[in-house]
């Protein structure tokens, strides 16, 4: 094309990720000490977390733009990714058969995908980003075949359901294209703002939300989650549960803001029942789970329901609180998973909850950490889980959804029980087996302590974090709608 003026600066970060990812795939065969990949990954995280502060805002192409929102969210995602990488390393030290550069390469591709998703300015790029976020994960789940035969089942299930989600997504794209003649968010926005084809757009949004719901494992599209979680290598489960959910949630919020803000109230109405049902189903089914990972899968279904409650009233403040919820959930999950990975490395049968009995006597520190994260998941103050829920419910009640708020909070009482049960097993049951102890690297302690610290800090003083997110949203909105 003539006169194509590419602003490479805006794409620089993604470029680095792409190059690093490809590097792993090309060079990995020739390097025998596989731990190199971990260090490169870690450096990449630190480096990209640093340079993201200097990446210029602006468009790479019309379809890709780096702005306030995407830059902030990318920063938070890198923060989370840093911990995922550490967890992966901790896991791969024991499960050596998986330790290839490609493991990290696939993770990086997935990160790359989520960045594309956040920066996208049209639906096609968004779709590509969404797919790129999950396709590497299908591979990663399937690689676990070496240790767990069921992982193929999980991977295929996730793949097929994910494909179904893509199908709905493309269907939504078709509808939007038909209605507005374009897939660019801003053009769709102007069409939506005209207001004459509201119902048709809402029909398209329903399909779009189905696509997103499958990635977020919301009821009634949640059935893949427990199987996929159980099948994955544990760090990939953590990635799937915390990181991808957070990234997809932020992308959904972005779409709602820049493409559908005139009808976001109606979208909120659509989301209300999905959110409440997710909370109910996730909480109730978590009660009967015997496997820790499956329990966390159901709990993640419920938690995504809470996060969505922030979107129901259709206020921008609520969007900010949803992002806050996602962020808090990311760190609660990562923290809990770092405990699980430690245990799992030395005790392969630890994922059955009853085998955790008496853990507190043998490993008091890890039990205590698990206690912090579990109470946070249950939403008991003074932990971040409470604050996140609290803000979401403030916005919900402000929007006039009093009954829904009462229902949501009642479900949270049900939802507290599974966590209490894990704590009961850890702290109150007599030990059945003795636990093997092993070394735990400094970095993993770091991950554990930082996430515990964050969970407590955000529970006691969430003000700066919330202000940061709200301010980002505000600035983003100001610049986005300046021309309106």
């Amino acid at each position: 094309m003539v006169g194509l003026n590419l602003n490479v600066g805006a794409f620089f970060l993604e470029l680095i990720l792409l190059v690093t990812g490809l590097f792993f795939f090309l060079v990995d065969r020739f390097i025998s000490r596989k731990s190199y990949a971990f260090w490169i990954c870690l450096l990449l995280c630190i480096f990209s977390g640093f340079i993201i502060l200097f990446i210029p805002f602006g468009e790479f192409t019309k379809a890709f733009r780096n702005d306030f929102y995407s830059a902030t969210l990318k920063f938070l995602l890198i923060f989370g990714f840093f911990f995922v990488v550490i967890l992966a390393k901790e896991y791969l030290v024991t499960f050596r058969a998986l330790e290839y550069g490609e493991f990290y390469g696939l993770l990086i591709f997935s990160l790359f995908g989520s960045f594309i998703m956040l920066s996208s300015q049209d639906f096609l790029t968004l779709f590509l980003g969404l797919e790129l976020t999950s396709i590497p994960i299908y591979f990663l789940i399937a690689t676990n075949f070496l240790y767990q035969r069921r992982s193929i089942e999980g991977a295929i299930k996730y793949f097929i359901v994910g494909a179904l989600g893509s199908l709905f997504f493309i269907l939504a794209l078709g509808i939007f294209y038909y209605l507005s003649g374009s897939l660019y968010f801003d053009i769709i926005l102007t069409k939506v703002a005209q207001g004459d084809r509201r119902e048709e757009f809402l029909a398209g949004i329903v399909f779009l939300l189905v696509g997103f719901s499958i990635k977020l494992s919301l009821v009634p599209f949640h059935m893949w989650a427990p199987d996929a979680y159980e099948a994955s290598p544990v760090p990939v489960t953590a990635y799937l549960a915390g990181f991808i959910k957070f990234a997809v949630l932020s992308a959904l919020i972005k779409v709602l803001i820049i493409a559908f803000s005139p009808i976001k109230d109606d979208v909120g109405q659509l989301l209300l029942w999905v959110a409440l049902l997710s909370i109910l189903v996730g909480s109730v089914l978590a009660i009967i789970q015997e496997n820790l990972i499956r329990l966390l899968a159901y709990s993640s279904i419920a938690h995504m329901g809470y996060a969505l409650l922030g979107l129901v009233s259709g206020e921008y403040v609520g969007y900010g609180f949803s992002i806050f919820y996602g962020f808090v959930y990311l760190f609660m999950t990562l923290g809990l998973f770092s405990v699980i990975i430690y245990l799992y490395r030395y005790n392969r049968n630890i994922l059955e909850i009853s085998n955790l009995a008496g853990l507190a006597k043998e490993l008091p520190l890890f039990s205590f950490m698990a206690l912090i994260f579990l109470f946070s998941l249950a939403g008991i103050p003074p932990t971040a889980g409470f604050m996140a829920k609290f803000y979401v419910f403030v916005v919900l009640i402000k929007g006039g959804f009093l009954i829904s708020a009462v229902l949501g909070l009642l479900f949270s009482v049900i939802g507290a029980y599974p966590y209490l049960r894990i704590l009961k097993v850890i702290y109150m049951d007599r030990p059945s087996v003795s636990f093997n102890r092993g070394a735990f690297s400094f970095l993993t302690y770091l991950a554990l302590y930082i996430s515990a610290f964050l969970v407590i800090l955000l529970g006691i003083y969430p003000q700066p974090a919330i202000e940061f997110i709200q301010r980002t949203l505000y600035l983003y909105l100001t610049f986005q709608f300046l021309h309106f």
């Binding site: 008091p364 909070l409 704590l423 009961k424 109150m428 003000q463 919330i466």
Partner: protein, 491 residues
């Protein structure tokens, strides 16, 4: 002294102990216990400073501290005490000291976690009493569940897990409605500040809903009659320290919440629902009192007697006059002291014989006379014998209710008689009759048990003989609460 943030100091001082214990190796149990004890004692001394600096002329909030906390939702770190809450602070710190003492030898496993949980409980309890910001109040209120869940569940009796999960879910369920009400109030008036919310008017039905939402949270905590079932289980299965905290402070939070929030914030609804609550209180007094008569478990009996006594307290609160309200506050303190002491006494013999069944004992008075004497004092205080603190509280409550409605007063007074029946019968079965073979050669009281029980004996008589020592504190504030109430609700 006024420049020192005394309330924050009392509130957060246990954190020093928590941090020191966290960094103490877990095999040095004596050091951990000593740190906990010293922290608790110092905190108690601070709270005595608070009492000494109290201004009796000022019926509003004193020692007020306010600083920015969550400005985005207009919630601040806002502390203060008045005559209603001030007495609970030394009570909480005293109870913590006693709990450390009483658990000295009886907690043998996970010692470190136990004292961490105990000090954390202390922070949360005081936080509930001193916070004047609704959100802050709620956070402390809920945070208390964490250590209590652990204390009952880890160090409790055989059915501890059932009891602790029941306790947790019950109280969590109750608080949910309060949270909704708090958010609703915030959205109406844009603030969580207690003092700013006084004197606001709500539409009638909304006020009633808000009242009920708060009432559910407090009623579960008190616990009032239909939602009391968690208490006997939790009390019975908790370790001694857990029972003492439950009886001493935790169930007082409900009564305190009623006085602090229900009466001043929703006066019209209070008037509307007062008779209903009086009826529930009378049912609690009589039903729980009768239930005591057929208990075969020592702790369970005292737990049911708590339900009965808490019925008196709600009766006093909703008599809605100064005498009844003063009586209720005084009786909360008294009940904390007496029932706490009774649980400690039960703990003393439980540690020696490992049985809570009443039929397991008999004739303890001959084999363990000094202990029998102590138990007698607390039994009589629990019945409300003149000269002990129980008498003053119950008398004031019944007098207050009498001024409101003679029938309720009469019905409530039957509770005193039933109380005498079950307590004296209990005393007879455990201490007199033919000595059971299980009660010979019991080791004498240990130093920690003696130190824990003696202050209680002193307090029983001190308050019993000179009640205005405590009543003076609450005089002004009680009038404030009711005055305010009469101004708005006096229709």
């Amino acid at each position: 002294m006024s420049s020192l943030p005394l309330l924050s100091l009392i509130l957060w001082f246990p954190l020093v102990g928590i941090l020191s214990i966290l960094f103490t190796p877990r095999n040095r149990e004596n050091l951990i216990k000593t740190i906990a004890l010293v922290t608790a004692i110092v905190d108690f001394l601070f709270s005595l400073c608070l009492l000494l600096n109290f201004d009796f002329q000022n019926s509003g909030f004193q020692f007020v501290e306010k600083s920015e906390w969550l400005s985005i939702i207009n919630s601040s770190y806002y502390l203060g005490v008045d005559g209603v809450s001030i007495l609970f602070i030394p009570l909480s710190t005293l109870v913590t000291v006693l709990c450390v003492l009483i658990s000295w030898d009886s907690i043998t496993e996970k010692v470190k976690e136990f004292y961490l949980a105990l000090l954390f409980t202390n922070i949360a309890m005081i936080g509930v009493f001193v916070s004047l910001d609704l959100l802050l109040f709620y956070i402390f209120w809920e945070a208390l569940l964490i250590p209590m869940y652990l204390i009952i569940g880890i160090w409790g009796g055989p059915r501890r897990i059932y009891s602790t999960i029941k306790f947790f879910l019950y109280t969590f369920f109750g608080s949910i409605f309060m949270l909704v009400a708090i958010i609703y109030i915030f959205l109406q008036y844009g603030t969580f500040e207690y003092t700013a919310l006084l004197g606001k008017n709500y539409p009638t039905h909304i006020e009633r809903f808000l009242f009920l939402a708060f009432l559910i949270a407090f009623a579960v905590k008190v616990p009032m009659w239909p939602v009391h079932t968690w208490l006997p289980d939790a009390h019975t299965e908790a370790p001694t320290a857990g029972s003492v905290i439950l009886a001493g402070i935790l169930i007082k939070l409900g009564g305190y919440g009623m006085i602090r929030f229900l009466l001043p914030l929703f006066p019209n609804a209070t008037l509307y629902f007062a008779n209903l609550i009086l009826i529930l209180s009378v049912i609690a007094i009589i039903y729980a009192g009768l239930a005591c008569l057929w208990q075969s478990d020592l702790k369970r009996l005292i737990a049911y007697s708590s339900v009965s006594h808490m019925g008196f307290i709600t009766l006093g609160i909703f008599s809605l006059n100064p005498i009844g309200l003063k009586g209720a506050i005084l009786q909360m303190i008294n009940h904390g002291i007496v029932t706490g002491a009774l649980f400690m006494c039960v703990g003393v013999i439980y540690d020696r014989t490992h049985s809570r069944a009443i039929s397991h004992y008999g004739g303890l008075a001959t084999t363990f006379p000094f202990y029998a004497g102590l138990f007698m004092i607390f039994t009589l205080a629990s019945i409300g014998l003149p000269g002990t603190n129980g008498f003053v509280g119950e008398f004031l409550i019944l007098q207050g209710v009498f001024l409101r409605d003679k029938l309720f007063s009469a019905l409530g007074a039957t509770g005193v008689i039933i109380g005498a029946c079950y307590m004296l019968w209990l005393y007879q079965r455990v201490f007199f009759e033919k000595p059971s073979p299980n009660v010979f050669n019991l080791p004498p009281l240990k130093w920690n048990e003696l130190i824990a029980l003696l202050p209680m004996v002193i307090l029983v008589f001190l308050i019993g003989l000179y009640p205005s020592l405590l009543l003076d504190f609450m005089k002004g504030s009680v009038f404030m609460i009711l005055n305010h109430f009469m101004n708005i609700g006096g229709s």
